[in-house]
Symmetry: D2
Subunit: 228 residues, 4 copies
């Protein structure tokens, strides 16, 4: 092999190495940190899956990598407990926190929900650790437990309260807010004229239907693509 050829090979290899390195460098890892809604979100048709398609169709699939980190039944303190293992070791650039439904719901279903003050405390502790690791954070309000539009879902009061806690955190911590609760209520005011309990954006009052996954993906997309 001639010296020139060797040099060519080395040069080409280096170019590839550098370019692939630079691709790796710029590909942003977005991790979705949540409960069963997020656990289902990575399945075909789930909101994370839909966002993958959106990044692709916008020519951004080389720039973003989406990772699901949802576990059924998780409350805010469960996220805190597993953040080292399930988040920090994965070195994401952006973490989207989507939690709160179980913190409210389990109060009523099993007596094991989360007090609002402790919900805030653990939420802030998670954010603090993510910020310390130089990870960008976006936070979501919990969407719905029941889709009735006459304000008569049993847990509406608390869902609004915990959503307000999250909205306040977004302001205080200067974080982008993905206000799913607001988006879901607005959607249902026009699309649920029969005051149904489920079947519009959810299949069972809580977990997302196709339309629900679409709405979450749309709302998240708007926010995530703007995070620098």
């Amino acid at each position: 092999m001639s010296k020139t050829f060797k040099l060519l090979i080395i040069s080409v290899s280096l170019t590839f190495a550098i370019s692939s390195f630079s691709i790796m460098q710029t590909k942003k890892k977005v991790l979705f940190f949540g409960d069963s809604i997020t656990q289902a979100g990575v399945k075909p048709g789930g909101y994370v899956d839909l966002m993958n398609a959106m990044f692709l169709s916008n020519g951004l699939d080389k720039s973003y990598e989406l990772i699901g980190a949802g576990i059924g039944g998780n409350k805010v303190y469960d996220l805190y407990l597993r953040m080292e293992e399930d988040v920090l070791t994965k070195h994401p650039d952006i973490v989207v926190i989507y939690v709160g439904v179980n913190d409210v719901w389990h109060k009523q279903s099993s007596g094991t929900g989360t007090d609002a003050d402790k919900f805030e405390k653990f939420y802030l502790a998670i954010i603090k650790k993510l910020k310390q690791a130089n990870i960008k954070v976006a936070i979501c309000t919990p969407a719905v437990i029941g889709e009735k539009t006459d304000f008569a879902n049993q847990l509406d009061g608390d869902l609004n309260k915990y959503s307000n806690v999250i909205r306040s955190i977004a302001k205080a911590e200067n974080l982008p807010l993905i206000d799913l609760r607001k988006a879901f209520l607005q959607h249902n005011f026009s699309k649920n004229p029969d005051n149904k309990e489920s079947g519009i954006l959810t299949t069972d009052r809580v977990h997302l239907s196709d339309a629900g996954n679409k709405l979450v993906a749309d709302e998240m997309w708007k926010t995530i693509k703007e995070i620098k």
Copy 2:
């Protein structure tokens, strides 16, 4: 004493006796059937006490007699249990049922609230017995558990649900509805700009302040004076 004078006295006495008898006959007994809110309502400044003054200032005190029958902690089935003793034996002309706060509240405070379907069942059973005794019935929605106006009182959802049950009963049973919940919400939207939890119409999120007693008395007055 002359015979004529004696006759006069007898005649006058008889006239008085008859007229007072006829007054007694036409004096409508209105019984307020409820929980601790009604129990406090008969105290000075309470809503029943205020209504007494309203009937008086409208020259109707000779036509109405107001009776309190409220017991703290009562739920709809407690009313049913004691209706023979505390209502039917008093032969009221009108009964105002004001119940529901504890049916919702005790779900969360002690695990002993009332399921919505049973709430309706007992409510209808009370109405049936009252109607059978030829008693007119007016029914009230439960006002508030917490006065926040951002829809974030924990039990707002259920209060709206149980209020809807009562509104449906009013329609189905063709009964006058005193929609306290609606009146309280409207009042607070304009009078509670700071989104306080209590202190406007309640002293403690549930029990009535002076303004609360006034609002209840006003709402009830409008309805009761129209019941023939």
Copy 3:
């Protein structure tokens, strides 16, 4: 037809009439008043069905008629609400009250259990009405919610408390007590060495297995046959 023959016929007819009348007279109606456990009790293999067989094999089937009056989800106040229609109109001689599981269980499962003091109040109100109708009453303690024998079933404390309420009522009202809770605990101490949650006397922690139905039938039989 001869006069003698006519007399014979009349005499025989009368004898039949009287005897069948006396059979009707002496056939005691026993009504089982309760929840889903009693609702299932009338099915083949259920505890009421088993007792029918026991009365038969003891030659007492002509003397007793057993009637089920159980409705799923019933608590003590539900029994009170439907006692006119489901009990008094059936003119039973004996009523066996078997209630309490839902009063305790629903506290934890749906926030709609029954406070102990109101449990007692409604229980006494039922007994009073039955006694007024000259009906004999026997009362049962609620058996189990969970069969673990290490005292670690979540609701053991309350089941014991409400059973104590019933035991006190039996004493105060001088009523035969069928202490199912005691019988179930004793059975399981010897027959559930592996501390299983269900599968011994229940199929699902609450509803009766074949062995459970057998034990209930045995305990009730001992008491009911002694009621004069």
Copy 4:
């Protein structure tokens, strides 16, 4: 100053320095990590205060330093959240974990207790972090919520269940167990013949009376002094 005297001073100083250093070295820091019971435990007459006196009267006050780290309302996950700040930064030699009452109690009082599986998960996570920091650990069962001895305290079942979780952890993790629940039950079986709800070892069903603080101190002393 003569050279000899200088040497003497240096020598004496060194001796003092070394001896005080060695005292500091051997003084074992014992940290009590818990809820309001432990928060009250450091007050005069509290169980930590009593143990200080016990170490003193046994001539061990130079060998042990007792530190309270109890915060009212804490559940197992609250301990986990604050263990860096409140435990690890204090470099204790021994940590006594005394938690569980609120995890059970808040299920019933506010719907915000802790599921048994998560209770275990967080408990193990705390132990793991302490062991990693070379800290010895002793663990306690939660004593009582209600002192009735007829097994009819509402939360007895769950307290037994969560105590069993802790007993299993002690075995699996090879940790000394301070079985307060067992000690309290045994005490009350002999000292609470009237089946009182409180007033023997507690003032209010949960928080310790003088006798309760004494019993906890005695039980802990037996275990802690044996930890090498």
